[in-house]
């Protein structure tokens, strides 16, 4: 059994120097440190809170308890999506009780000094965590992006621990905060994919879904990705892998900062699992992401995780000024920062005129509040496809962004089957 050595400043907080809220948060940090067998705590530079989504009474009870005891964050702390879109309050129907709970949760986290970012993609903001910095982020897609693409260090933190880390600025020095724990344990190799598929945005959520399912909680290294992979593609890959598996960090060999070579990603050790990923396996994974094919289309939902300005640029290019079919509800979720950029560029009014409903502060799948029209919902997000059948009870058709746009214009599911054919 390892022994946790606390510093004097931690003991002072435990004795109540920062008040009851800080004491309670530190008690929880210490209990978690003992649970994971950490020998010491480490300072974090920022926290990202996922617990601000109102799931039930407990979502309000915990931050309200901390706020009632005068809690105040010790490090910059951003907030994930909530249950309300404050910029578009009438977009979705909610009863008074639900609105009240969601508002209480949001107010409590603001009272603790968190920043009203309301986004699941905090890494899209300019002040990103630096390579090697310790952070305490919750929200599985943000965790995997920060670790893998930025090379910052965070464990898979859950709701409630996120705010405890924000209040104390301390987390157990364990897991992915330690260099040795960041090595890949599973290797996935891509074979025989066409150049067109490798360049397509839709390969990445499908690949992430498949890798996450196969690797579970082992850190995967992916070999064979092209140098052209964008941050948006890594974002889609990570969000999918963190939904189907417990993936908090991946290495893309030759592309992500801790994987200049496969040997470096593996830290010179042998992998415990090696799998060649074929086109057939990817096509099967893509098919698993749809609950029903060719069912009448009634909605499209994109922006899970929150759309970046680059993804909105792709959306405009694909729309080419054409209007979404009147029978189709078309939702695009994004953060306030990107929303402001859309407004500045004049894209907001243009997209809305074409039938795109921008959603901010929340996401369409997290609570069953959006009108999807009763038919199948098309999405380019593997994460949305994975959760929405359960969380909002809809049928899902998964497709590329181009397929989503063409389907939305046609008013029925339109497929580009060429994309997933073997290369000639």
């Amino acid at each position: 059994m390892t022994h946790l050595a606390l510093e004097d400043r931690d003991r002072r907080v435990l004795r109540g120097r920062d008040g009851r809220a800080g004491q309670l948060a530190m008690e929880i940090v210490v209990e978690m440190a003992e649970a994971v067998g950490a020998r010491q705590l480490v300072d974090v530079e920022s926290a990202h809170v996922d617990g601000c989504l109102a799931i039930g009474q407990v979502s309000a009870d915990f931050p309200e308890l901390l706020a009632a005891h005068g809690g105040r964050v010790a490090v910059p702390t951003t907030l994930n999506v909530s249950s309300l879109d404050l910029l578009h309050p009438d977009l979705s129907e909610r009863d008074a009780e639900t609105r009240d709970l969601a508002g209480r949760v949001m107010d409590a986290y603001l009272a603790l000094g968190c920043r009203p970012t309301w986004t699941c993609a905090p890494y899209l903001a300019p002040d990103r965590p630096a390579f090697g910095s310790h952070i305490a982020w919750a929200e599985s897609n943000a965790i995997v992006f920060a670790n893998s693409v930025l090379g910052a260090r965070t464990n898979r933190y859950g709701d409630f621990f996120d705010i405890c880390a924000g209040l104390t600025g301390r987390v157990p020095l364990a897991g992915l905060h330690l260099s040795d724990e960041r090595r890949a344990r599973a290797v996935f190799r891509l074979h025989g994919l066409s150049e067109r598929l490798l360049a397509s945005e839709t390969l990445y959520p499908v690949l992430g879904y498949l890798v996450g399912d196969l690797t579970g909680t082992m850190i995967p290294a992916v070999v064979g990705l092209p140098a052209s992979v964008s941050e948006d593609q890594f974002k889609a890959f990570g969000a999918a892998a963190a939904s189907s598996g417990g993936v908090a960090l991946f290495h893309a060999v030759g592309l992500t900062p801790e994987a200049p070579t496969l040997e470096a990603a593996l830290a010179g050790r042998a992998p415990e699992l090696e799998i060649d990923l074929t086109l057939e396996a990817l096509v099967a994974a893509r098919d698993q992401l749809s609950t029903r094919e060719r069912h009448a289309l009634s909605a499209v939902s994109i922006g899970t995780p929150h759309f970046s300005i680059g993804e909105f640029s792709d959306l405009r290019r694909l729309l080419r000024g054409r209007r979404v079919n009147e029978a189709i509800r078309f939702y695009a979720s994004t953060g306030r920062q990107t929303h402001a950029q859309l407004a500045e560029r004049g894209w907001l009014a243009e997209l809305e005129a074409l039938g795109v409903q921008i959603v901010t502060d929340t996401c369409t799948y997290v609570r069953p509040f959006f009108d999807f029209g009763g038919g199948t919902v098309m999405t380019n997000s593997a994460k949305w496809a994975y959760y929405a059948p359960m969380s909002v009870g809809v049928d899902v058709t998964f497709g590329s962004l181009a397929e989503c746009v063409e389907s939305a214009i046609a008013g029925e599911v339109a497929r580009d089957d060429e994309l997933w054919r073997p290369s000639p």
Binding site: E31, M32, D50, G56, S140, G158, S244
Partner: protein, 150 residues
């Protein structure tokens, strides 16, 4: 094997429990994979879709996916539809914090234990598991295996 042999587990969230095992073959995300209305497995991809979690000792390798699982576990405990205890093969911090917060706010526990891989593999749905606060536990098979020739 002595069915009541004492096993050494690692208490992640300490506590006592005496109940019946529900063994999930695959990791489950409680985030959207457990219904707070019914207390049952709600993940449409889960092999044991519909299995009752409420009051059982939930046995699975580890959780998966969303950070929201902490909130769902804590809310399930608050509502009285949560598992009696959880036995894992790997530490899962997302589940641990949910149980800690429920205990802090409502005084209701859900002990979480990490079992040795070998011991973990012997647990079957229906087995009676008794967990002590120090992390030791016993597994009592639901039905003794029939002996050849009676």
């Amino acid at each position: 094997m002595n069915p009541s042999r004492q096993h050494e587990g690692r208490p992640i969230v300490a506590g006592e429990a005496d109940g019946t095992a529900l063994v999930l073959q695959e990791p489950l995300s409680l985030a959207f994979g457990m219904s707070l209305e019914t207390g049952r497995v709600a993940d449409i991809r889960a092999p044991q879709l519909g299995a009752l979690i409420t009051g059982q000792i939930l046995v699975m390798p580890v959780g998966r996916g969303s950070s929201t699982a902490s909130t769902v576990l804590a809310e399930a405990i608050r509502l009285g539809v949560g598992p009696m205890a959880i036995v894992l093969r790997e530490v899962d911090e997302i589940l641990a914090i949910g149980a800690i917060v429920a205990r802090t706010l409502y005084g209701r526990g859900c002990p979480i234990l990490v079992a040795d891989t070998a011991d973990f593999g012997t647990i079957r749905t229906g087995d009676r598991i008794r967990i002590r606060a120090d992390g030791t536990y016993t597994i009592e098979p639901a039905v003794a295996a029939p002996k050849p020739g009676g």
